[in-house]
Amino acid sequence: MIPRRDLPVRVAARAELSPTCFRLTLSTPEVIDAAPGQFGMLACGGTFDPLLRRAFSLAGVVRRGGLSEVELLIKEVGRGTTQLRHIAVGAELRLLAPLGKGFTLEAGDRPLALVAGGIGLPPVLFAAEVLAARGAAFDLFVGAVSRPELLEVERCGRAAASVGGELVLATDDGSRGEGGFVTDAVERRLEAGQSYARALTCGPNPMLAAMAKVGRRRGVEVELSLEEAMACGVGVCLGCVVELSDGRVVPSCKEGPVFTAERLAARWWS
């Protein structure tokens, strides 16, 4: 496993994915060996505005023509992401990566359930493509508030299909795929007798909590990728802490961002 580094990266491409989301492709000569669920801290520019780096899950890392290409899927929500949305292709940034602990991909003989809500897709998509490459079975559940906010649908479909898995789309408003929450879609499958080795989940907190409860009810282990506000991303500021079921309070950037639901304090799953 190649260690974290503060990588000088070039903006190789920028692509709009939805009214609010875009894809950033960052390239560097360095070899990056990252696991799905790990993230990077991106310095949006050299200036003091914004001051802090921004945390983004790695959505994919590919080696191409002597370069590593890191993919980020980003939702524009504030100062930093707005600057990134307008950044010039060719701009030089710094990415501190890979950071944190990712998903558990080992699954034995049962398939995995990959569950993404909204901009929680990046680490889940990364997992899907890695599993597809390994030929490991999974179903992929992708939810969003409504049709236009469903990202990278084709890629998701391709990854799932390549291992005979299902791509289940869900929108809160029913404008595409199954109506209602994506976690309900998962539960319906479990109800129908489908069995999963583990559910790997990323999305807004209410959705993570919902997924944890489903897992509890149905006896499926659930891993959650959390999003706490982070200053350093490397465990020294203690800004991003989460409380564990054993009462310990740990930095999610270092012990996480991925945790099994039971490891987290009860409010997450009970």
Binding site: P3, R4, D6, A43, F48, D49, P50, L51, L52, R53, L96, E228, A229, M230, A231, C232, V234, G235, V236, C237, L238, G239, C240, V241, V242, V249
Partner: protein, 306 residues
């Protein structure tokens, strides 16, 4: 041109004047590949209390214009774990370690120090009497000169090692508290800690931080920190100072040295760049070489008043 970086904080000689600040560099070992602690003048630990503390609820941090507000609440592993787990490694690496000491009551400061006294490889104590993020302890000692002098005297009596007092920029009278710390026997003063501040979520109509208020740090506060260092330096010319507040570059370090600091700490900058303290050091050497400064220490207090 080769530049001499040696400096001293009171009686304590340092290979160079750049330190990693308390609370921004863990216990000195989290970022070794970016910033080996032994290459710095010193590393200051996260504030240590007699027993582990869990700190405040989240959100604990929020970014502001060229700054950030934190309300960590002194979460730390406790002095025992530090002495058993981190200190031996730091000692092994040859790092110069300053222990940032915190207590809710005066006795707790002593507890921390007494435990540390049993260990080698601690170069100094930095008394944190200026944390704005705890309900008990912290600022209450830092704002009241009489209290501060008492606490400092007690701590001073408990060790042979240098005792630094970290001053609060929120104190009613900065120079009075500085005097009190010196009267109590402080070997040096570290300034500044964070400024009490608040961020508001307009849509939610609540403070962003779970605790409401917190402490402001980063480049935004540098002009205030420089003014305070200079103010204390002119009021108490002989007293060794450790300057801190918004240092991001070697030039910033030079400014603090000129204002009267014998050494400089780098804090929030580490969150932007895990190698910040080392970068600041090399930029400092580069500045000196460019400007014909043979000894970094010759900059200390060198500011010419208009």
């Amino acid at each position: 041109m080769s530049v001499g970086t040696a400096t001293r904080v009171g009686a304590l000689p340092l290979a160079n004047p750049i330190m990693a600040a308390s609370g921004t560099f863990g216990y000195g070992l989290d970022l070794v590949e970016f910033c080996p602690p032994e290459r710095l003048g010193a590393v200051v630990t996260k504030g240590l209390s007699p027993r582990p503390r869990l700190g405040n609820p989240t959100p604990r941090i929020v970014e502001t214009a060229a700054g950030m507000i934190n309300a960590i609440g002194l979460q730390n592993i406790g002095v025992e774990a530090f002495c058993c787990d981190a200190l031996p490694v730091l000692r092994e690496r040859g790092a110069v370690v300053a222990v940032n000491v915190f207590g809710e009551r005066m006795e707790e400061y002593l507890e921390v120090m007494e435990r540390c006294e049993r260990e080698d490889g601690i170069a100094a104590y930095e008394l944190n009497v200026s944390c704005p993020n705890v309900t008990a302890g912290g600022m209450e000692f830092g704002h009241e000169p009489v209290q501060l002098e008492r606490l400092t005297r007690m701590c001073r009596a408990a060790t042979r090692r240098p005792v630094w007092v970290k001053l609060s920029p929120n104190a009613p009278d900065l120079v009075a508290t500085a005097r009190a710390a010196v009267a109590g026997g402080a070997d040096a003063l570290t300034l500044i800690n964070t400024l009490r501040a608040m961020a508001i979520d307009a849509a939610a109509r609540r403070p962003v931080l779970a605790r409401g208020c917190g402490g402001l740090s980063g480049p935004a506060i540098k002009p205030i920190a420089l003014r305070m260092v200079w103010e204390v330096h002119t009021a108490l010319p002989g007293v060794p100072l450790v300057g801190i507040g918004g240092v991001e570059t070697g030039r910033d370090a030079v400014e603090f040295l000129l204002a009267g600091a014998s050494a400089v700490q780098v804090g929030t900058a580490i969150f932007r760049d895990p190698g910040a303290p080392l970068r600041v050091l090399s930029e400092l050497e580069h500045f000196c070489a460019e400007h014909g400064v043979a000894e970094v220490s010759s900059l200390i207090g060198g500011l010419q008043w208009p």
